[in-house]
């Protein structure tokens, strides 16, 4: 009897809850999300859709032909040059990532644990951001008088008698590219790591010391594991920046090294837009896979 009553009661109560009209409160939250949706829709989603769309078009030297062909992807992925360029870009990403992670961690560690006063921390942190007062291009170009054949480093070393001939590989080489990238991107690693390190409860370090941990054991067992989310965020920044870079590679390698973005830029200057679009889609997928991989390894939700 009771079961029967219940089975009747359930359907009658359901429409009641569904009947509640779209209240103003619910409407307001939708309205509030509209501006951001519009911005993201127009400036992110739409261009990406367009890109995917165009990547399936056909083209010749003069114009594009709307259609649905896979030749762009076949040519991009089938070309030996593409694979080499991707490998080169990944190589830069790996080297720059390792260097910025190492330098960034220690800078952040110094700021967070060895600088005692909060004012000094803030001042030193702002000092780190000073290079950002000028543009990327200017910071890059200012390496040229330093590293050039008759630049600051070479002339000093020659005058000191350390070397007899100027070192050729200082500028317009992979070394120069990596150096400039590390210079440009280290702060993107310092900031999130500094942020995570500042959130580590200092009593955890005391607790570790109380348990007999040495300075290195504290570093390995407490600080590094807790700094992982910051490292992951920094890694995402640096990897995506390096993967998408073309100006640093072009200027610092003097045109001797290639990157994926540089390849796309060249394709565009030859009006091969569909080919560039296909390339961009491949790069996008690759970077998304990389980011997805990072997020699988480290849980960064705590940081956001």
């Amino acid at each position: 009897m009771a079961v029967a009553d219940q089975s009747i009661a359930v359907p009658t109560s359901k429409p009641k809850t569904r009947k509640t009209p779209l209240s103003f409160g619910r409407l307001a939250s939708y309205l509030q999300s509209i501006p951001l949706c519009l911005i993201l829709g127009f400036f992110l989603l739409l261009p990406i859709l367009l890109l995917v769309f165009v990547s399936f078009w056909d083209y010749d030297f003069a114009r594009m032909y709307p259609g649905f062909v896979f030749t762009n992807y076949v040519e991009t992925l089938g070309s030996w040059v593409t694979w080499k360029t991707y490998l080169n870009t990944l190589k830069f990403a790996a080297i720059v990532w390792a260097l910025t992670l190492f330098i960034g961690f220690w800078v952040a560690y110094f700021l967070a644990f060895h600088v005692r006063s909060a004012t000094m921390q803030m001042v030193l942190f702002l000092v780190c951001t000073v290079p950002f007062l000028t543009s990327n291009i200017i910071r890059m170009i200012s390496w040229i008088p330093v590293l050039g054949r008759n630049g600051l480093v070479n002339s000093t070393l020659v005058e000191m008698g350390v070397i007899s001939q100027p070192i050729e590989w200082l500028l317009y080489s992979d070394f120069a590219v990596v150096l400039a990238m590390v210079h440009l991107f280290t702060l993107f690693m310092v900031t999130p790591i500094f942020n995570t390190l500042m959130r580590i409860d200092r009593s955890l370090i005391e607790a570790a010391r109380d348990a007999g941990a040495s300075a290195w054991q504290i570093m390995w067992n407490v600080i590094l594991p807790l700094a992982k989310p910051g490292m992951a965020i920094g890694t995402i920044f640096v990897v995506t920046l390096v993967m998408a870079d073309f100006s640093t590679v072009q200027v610092m390698s003097g045109g001797q090294s290639a990157s994926v973005a540089l390849m796309m830029k060249n394709q565009m200057s030859l009006l091969q837009y569909p080919a560039a679009a296909a390339n961009a889609v491949v790069l996008l997928v690759l970077v998304l896979l990389l980011v997805g991989g990072i997020l699988r390894i480290v849980d960064i939700r705590k940081e956001l």
């Binding site: 009593s203 348990a211 007999g212």
Partner: protein
Amino acid sequence: MAQGDLEVVKLTKRYGDALAVDSIDLKVPAGTYCCLLGPSGCGKTSTLRMVAGHEAATDGDIILSSTNVTDLPPARRGTAMMFQSYALFPHLDLIDNVAFSLKMKGIEKAPRQAKALELLKLMQMDGYASRRPAQLSGGQQQRVALARALITDPEVLLLDEPLSALDPFLKIRMRAELKKLQTRLGITFVHVTHSQEEAMALADLIVVMNNGRVEQAAAPREVFERPATAFVARFMGDHNVVTGSARSVADGVVSVEVPGGSSFAASGAPLAVGSPVDVGIRTDHVRVGTTPAEGLGFTGIVSNIEYRGASVKLSVDGAGIEDFTAIVDDKSFFSKPVAVGDAVPLYWDAEDAIILGRPNS
């Protein structure tokens, strides 16, 4: 000196010019539950942290089981500390948290996890071994923190305000657990707190501190019934402190004159006539009525009445005495009720008025 005895000799801590701990001496016999009690900034936490080794002593010695541990690192002192916020490692599960110090010693995974599980079992937390600290309640976190501190088999367990992060209900439950654990393990606990109720409930030895000094170190009953100084009497909160000057001294009874002109009799150590003196009078032993003896009562105006259920708290202002508290049981209060503004006579017994010492400064 026996195994597990803790002694602190002329221990001093200075932060720049500020003196946090001023040359204190303290003896804690093995197996004692000792509470360092005092208001914030009295030096109790600094003292604990110096014993733990997380703060370097400016001067003085810390001796544990006949070994001078003043300059030893925390882990080699035979102490373990439980931190105020428990300081559990958020990235490790409970078993790894508890096994942390064994891992630091380089003990293999299997034996160290077995030992950790044993301690979690002791704290009835073995069912949660693979959880992270964030998934636990405050009381559970405290049990894990205790297990982690105890895994090194310390001779002295140092607890820095262990109950302050808990809600009032849980506080009382965990308090009982702490006491039970200490009795069971038989090791010395040194527990920092600012709650006199907590100290009274737990301690075998209460050390009341103020301004970096020890005001009194004694059993709870003695601290409560015979506070050594006016500070202790006020801090424990169950004595009225009346300040005046000694007028005459005769067979252990001092006659004290307060600024308003009235005088009181109090028992205690003989003092020089004319010297300033504090008299402590138990609030719960004060009764309403005219005094049968000279110097054991006064008449004042009721300034406030607080009903507390089983008792009623009267605040009375008299000549030269302000805010004198009398805790009267409800039965006798309501048989002869008084109102704010009434003049009431108060009296007490001779043994309830005692002379309080003054810290020699």
